[in-house]
Point group: C2
Chain length 444, copies 2
């Protein structure tokens, strides 16, 4: 019989604690995974991988009461030794080792990938096949720390703006966007689908909480095999009521980006440095109209417009280039997308119903957000559904919500992996996805 009373102070120290709590010459205990062993003859360096970074431990024959060959790469160990200052060591400190406890040993000597190298130059394919190993590389790992910062900033900023977090179901009777891109499954002998987006649910919840958000997986059975598509990804979604126009939604997203850049600077500086990331400026983000900017970039860059109602990936790149040249901005909102390219719930522009009060946010040449104002009037919604010849099966509860009153509202969905990818300058979204799912990849 015992009582648990909460987290105890640990005898082993983390890297930040070594800096804050310990002076040179003091005895300390640390643990970690053996990232690399570098035997220089008279002295050897044992590099420990810890959650806060790398820690150099020094092996000298007279000092340590164990043999260097007791330490094998990829084992996890606990070390007792003396903290020493050394400008050449990572972080300026190292541990002169005295005692060793082996916590665990690897079964195989050789790792499938050289993770202790600074840059893991292995192919993407190999990195993904050995995901739990490749991420042990310090640079690979740092990408997902930054991804954490982006998600954390999203929530913290929205909490501060009066949003409520919701958890909506991923198995349902019907997809939000319709179309063929839906994964189907059998649910106790009934047909069911995986959610393409939390769209219907977050709208319904605007009538309850005024402002809601969700950070959760979405599923798209798209047969695209490109560098920017995934079949499962994390969507940062919010939806807000009582808006005066869709500018309120863009302002909220701009506020998020500003908050996120500040949080990254403050709390993830180490990782930004590891990856050489220069944070983009989100202080003022230009907004340009779809048709207008299409014409402008075609003119400026001699691009031939093939379809006036859609943006090709190349046109997204040109628009971003234009925004960078004209306003020095890495971000640009493209507004008033054509109605026929948007889902039925998008609010048409009363001034020209061929277009919608919706937008995409482009970042460094790629769409990372789709958003806009939604229809909140029941009749208008039903008319649009019938104009499009759509079925309403499985949407009864969504539609009846509008029958019973809804405020003007709008929202967005951000693809977390794409945002991370553009922020750290990767060119394949799989590089910033922990365990990607695509046409050919279902494992690990």
């Amino acid at each position: 019989m015992e009582f648990l009373t909460g987290v105890k102070e640990k005898k082993t120290l983390e890297i930040s604690e070594l800096h804050e709590k310990v002076k040179a010459g003091q005895q300390v205990k640390v643990n970690g995974a053996v990232h690399a062993v570098r035997d220089m003859g008279t002295v050897a360096f044992v590099i420990l991988r810890k959650r806060e970074g790398l820690l150099q431990c020094v092996y000298e024959k007279g000092t340590a009461d164990f043999k260097l060959k007791d330490i094998r790469e990829a084992s996890t160990i606990e070390v007792e030794g003396v903290l020493t200052e050394n400008d050449k060591a990572p972080g300026g400190i190292e541990i002169l080792m005295k005692k060793l406890i082996i916590l665990s040993l690897p079964e195989e000597e050789m790792l499938p990938l050289p993770v202790s190298k600074w840059k893991l130059t292995t192919s993407l394919e190999a990195k993904l096949n050995y995901r739990s190993i490749s991420l042990r590389n310090i640079r690979e790992r740092a990408k997902f720390r930054i991804q954490e910062g982006l998600t954390r900033a999203f929530r913290d900023f929205l909490y501060s703006q009066g949003f409520t977090e919701i958890h909506t179901p991923k198995i349902g009777a019907k997809g939000a966007e319709g179309g063929a891109n839906i994964f189907k499954l059998e649910y106790f002998h009934r047909p069911a689908v995986l959610a393409q987006s939390p769209q219907f649910y977050k709208q319904m919840m605007v009538g309850v909480f005024d402002r809601v958000f969700e950070t959760a997986p979405v599923f798209r059975a798209e047969k695209h095999n490109t560098k920017r598509h995934l079949n499962e990804y994390t969507s940062l979604d919010f939806e807000m009521g009582y808006i005066s126009g869709f500018e309120d939604v863009m302002d909220m997203e701009t506020g998020y980006l500003q908050y996120a850049m500040e949080l990254l600077k403050k709390e993830y500086g180490k990782e930004l440095e590891i990856l050489n990331v220069i944070l983009p400026n989100a202080e003022r983000i230009p907004a340009v109209q779809f048709s207008e900017i299409k014409e402008k970039v075609c003119e400026r860059y001699g691009h031939r417009m093939r379809n006036p109602f859609d943006l090709e990936p190349e046109e997204e790149q040109l628009i971003s280039r234009y925004a960078k040249e004209e306003w020095g901005s890495d971000f640009v909102f493209v507004t008033h997308y054509p109605s026929k390219k948007r889902p039925f719930y998008a609010m048409d522009d009363p001034e020209d119903p061929r277009y919608t009060l919706s937008f995409d946010l482009l970042f460094g040449g790629m769409e990372i957000t789709t958003g806009g104002q939604r229809i909140h009037n029941y009749k208008m919604l039903m008319d649009k559904i019938s104009d499009r010849g759509m079925e309403t099966d499985g949407m009864e509860q969504y539609l009846s919500t509008f029958k019973h009153g809804m405020p003007p509202h709008g929202g967005i969905g951000i693809g977390l992996e794409r945002l991370t990818m553009k922020l750290i300058g990767e060119d394949n979204v799989r590089e910033t996805t922990l365990f990607p799912r695509d046409l050919s990849r279902l494992e690990p």
Copy 2:
């Protein structure tokens, strides 16, 4: 061409702003949904539902420049008027209305449920059928604010303890626990499953980040039709490396519960009051061994033990009753579950391998967490798999992680909806699930 620069100050005020920024007699603008209209003859009360609560607006003929019948229940409106102090109004303030703007009108006069009543006494079935309406009730809505607090506390506490947040795939080739309770789907002509838990992934990521957590949906195709089972729920998962024993894991969970209770007290006091919740004490949580406590409760309460290797729901209740009587605790850890009742990755107790270094946390008579130490040694893991006659198909990457070194580690999974349910004293987990999925319910 315009620039977005972030969130603008709004002209309409929230309830907290009315208290903090405005004095009695001042002119204000507010908006909200018309929750109820109470016509008293000479005067009428229009109750606005806002995200922070209810706000009373007063209609007097001479003062308002519109007609009372312009205001219909379930419409959303903007009101201009004078802030007045009134002890009888919710929060001690009310708005004497002058001007009205209708933001939206409902299509139907009558709501399907009487949501403006204090307690929504409708059947659970009706509440779930009209979920987007029933949650407009203040008490129903408050449950999910408390749920937000529990999730938020989980993340904030774990960030402070050096954990990294991860997003693991929900579609995969193989389930973590095995067994028949897996939803199957077709993934581009290949068989796939929905994740029963992030178990394999979070363990693999302990080798990368040392400490990880995820708050995400999990899927269980269980055919249980009980008050405590869902087929999709939100799991609060963490996994931590370099533990000295599974007590470290229980200490971390205890720390979370302590943090959560503090956060709820501090930030969700209004909702606790609305629901009359008395927060449990998590300062010290007793831990009792499975076999020992089973015998003790059978003896004390005259219960007949049917299966010495499993806990029946009734026995969970008796153990909680025992913990309350003996130690005054609403929580109790039950440790050393029988090995045959735990998945293959559970670490057996070296002192008696019929039992494991694992635990459940019971709260008010019900299991809300399963956790424990995991096997980190490759050989030990393979031996247990072969002893159980299991297949390793689809687990290659999981298993090979252990070949390449893993620290001693353990973790937990908490069922968010169950934790919420027990905290606020509900007796059906559907009451604290936004859109439940069960054997018969796939909509809304």
